[in-house]
Symmetry: C2
Subunit: 399 residues, 2 copies
Amino acid sequence: MKWQERFAGRMGSLASSVAVSELLKLAEQPDVISFAGGLPDPKVFPMEAIQEAMDRVLAEDGPVALNYGPGTGYTLLRDWIAERMLTKDRAAVSRENILVTSGGVEALHLICMTLLEPGDTVVVGAPTYLVALHVFRAHQVKMVSIELDENGLDTEVLEQRLNELDRQGERPKLVYVIPSFQNPSGLTMNIDRRHQLIKICERYNVPIVEDHAYADLRFEGKPIAALKSLAPDRVILTQTFSKIFAPGVRLGWVAADSSLIQQLALCKIGTDTCANTLGQRLVYQYASQGGIDAQVSEAVRRYRHKRDVMIAALAEHLSGIVTWSRPDGGFYVWLTLPESSDSEALLRYAIENEKTAFVAGQVFFADGRGARHLRLSYSFIAEDQIEEGIRRLANAIKS
Amino acid sequence: MKWQERFAGRMGSLASSVAVSELLKLAEQPDVISFAGGLPDPKVFPMEAIQEAMDRVLAEDGPVALNYGPGTGYTLLRDWIAERMLTKDRAAVSRENILVTSGGVEALHLICMTLLEPGDTVVVGAPTYLVALHVFRAHQVKMVSIELDENGLDTEVLEQRLNELDRQGERPKLVYVIPSFQNPSGLTMNIDRRHQLIKICERYNVPIVEDHAYADLRFEGKPIAALKSLAPDRVILTQTFSKIFAPGVRLGWVAADSSLIQQLALCKIGTDTCANTLGQRLVYQYASQGGIDAQVSEAVRRYRHKRDVMIAALAEHLSGIVTWSRPDGGFYVWLTLPESSDSEALLRYAIENEKTAFVAGQVFFADGRGARHLRLSYSFIAEDQIEEGIRRLANAIKS
């Protein structure tokens, strides 16, 4: 059968992701030092504690952990999440406000299913998380890109664009932001910017999706209030266990108004019925013994040091040639190349001639910008390879 | 915020599922003997072997098993699936034809994302799997319902409907069938019916989605060829590990043309990025040691006996009053009540007055039919409760 004649319209919108995947695959050659992937460092997984938690789940509750669970998530895990958000993020949520999802991506997918029609408009950062762009493309919505400055999403530009759209009779269905240690820029919205964002979204009556993925991985400085704590009703928070526990369980959550949670759960019946029960019980067992808090402390220590090594190497090899963000947390450094650079061409050159890789900037923009930028991740790469990788990258840039 | 004003159009289509959930919840009262849920019997999970497999995964490959995996699935598991389909189902597939999914429901969701637009038409059985109906509703497609007789989907009726639609210039985008031990009817398409179905779908050039969920749980008689083996190009097979292993890992797969697999994988980036890696490695470790084959044999023994107990009890208490299907495999018996019965009213009565529950028939039909029918599941209920439950059901029916 000629399947390609049968593909739905959305597949056309997703074609650009094929090119992204192929570009990312280039980085996977064996002798390449890669700053491309956003994977956690496997050394942050405390295998012994995880093994113990799994033993306990299987020994104490095995047959239940291996069967279907509630569509909204394992009740004790929902309670643990709500309690954590209350204490850590000062977000007034309880079990009814929490839906356990199959990772942060499914959280966003369910939000789109519940709130968006094809042709709707959403606001995203320029740059933003590339898989979020993919999710929005799959839902065939229009994206309005708002620049970032050193304090994250530029709310003056946002207000101007919302005003323009308003005069055209158009109102975005949501604003998607990653306020802390943004992927890919590493930038964080300061508290004024957060208040500003909420004020503008109230004025234009637009809901906010707050992607909280990296917020717990703060290396220094005081935590900045989550949008969810500042505007509990307007903000839908998505979170993943991938950065505070491990991606391999594919778990995350949405925190939102209970009426919205019920609809998201209704959509989830038709995506995968429930998040995997075994993983949920493992995470709960581990988390309730203090595993996640301990792991996050150790992860912060490890990633902070990796960031320091990367920033020092950048200063040594690339000062005066390129500029970079210095993240206070998370996984990423964002490089800005000289004007009229082509980061995709640089990537191909760097892989071939210097055996080093990164993610070229364009994939993080909804509108094709980004040729001057590239993302470096220090999370997965072995510490002792960072300096050598940056040296190679500098060679490629200078060539 | 008034979230309900913001829900997308599809949420209206899903409203009927809320009523279904509430009805299913009624069955969960503590002293009710319930034939409602389609859960596997937890006694079929060989806890020791599963624990051993998990120990090995965590000990040998823990840090990899806890990280992200390939979007198409763990390579060794894809190979194991392809090999199993080759030997067991005589379906000529290899790794490129397999996508590991987060269960059978996600498999169908991804197929819908890839092939369907709102307003498209799909063909379903009357009755059929209620979550499949939910998935199709979420994708806002029109459903054409085709009756079943004792040999499964009535292909004469199908041909007539396709012909009618064709004259209206309408062609369904797919036919969804569960050929073996259908949920909810327990019925199986014989080989003539299968050939007939393929011939008709070839004539009208419609792809077939073959839900293989229960096919391995055959109690007696010779296996009947999978549609996938008879028409490899036209058939998209979906399968779940929930019935041959355990639902708690939320894993399944799609077997299809490699060009289609690539597009499904592209959609999967935006649903949950990859199926949970830990579960995939557990399943592979367990399966490659012969665990699944051994488990299926034991499950068949156990479910066959439960079916026998249920059929005997029905014969004792309800002969001449209702009729029922006698499944050769799977989880379900389908009851047909006297004309002008109301199975939903019967359910409410049975729960309240006889403390027994089932699933009322309407939820398995796209078009509101089914008031004369009800589904009894013998899979989860303890063996020694089946006879008493059927006695109570008979009381309710006779009252």
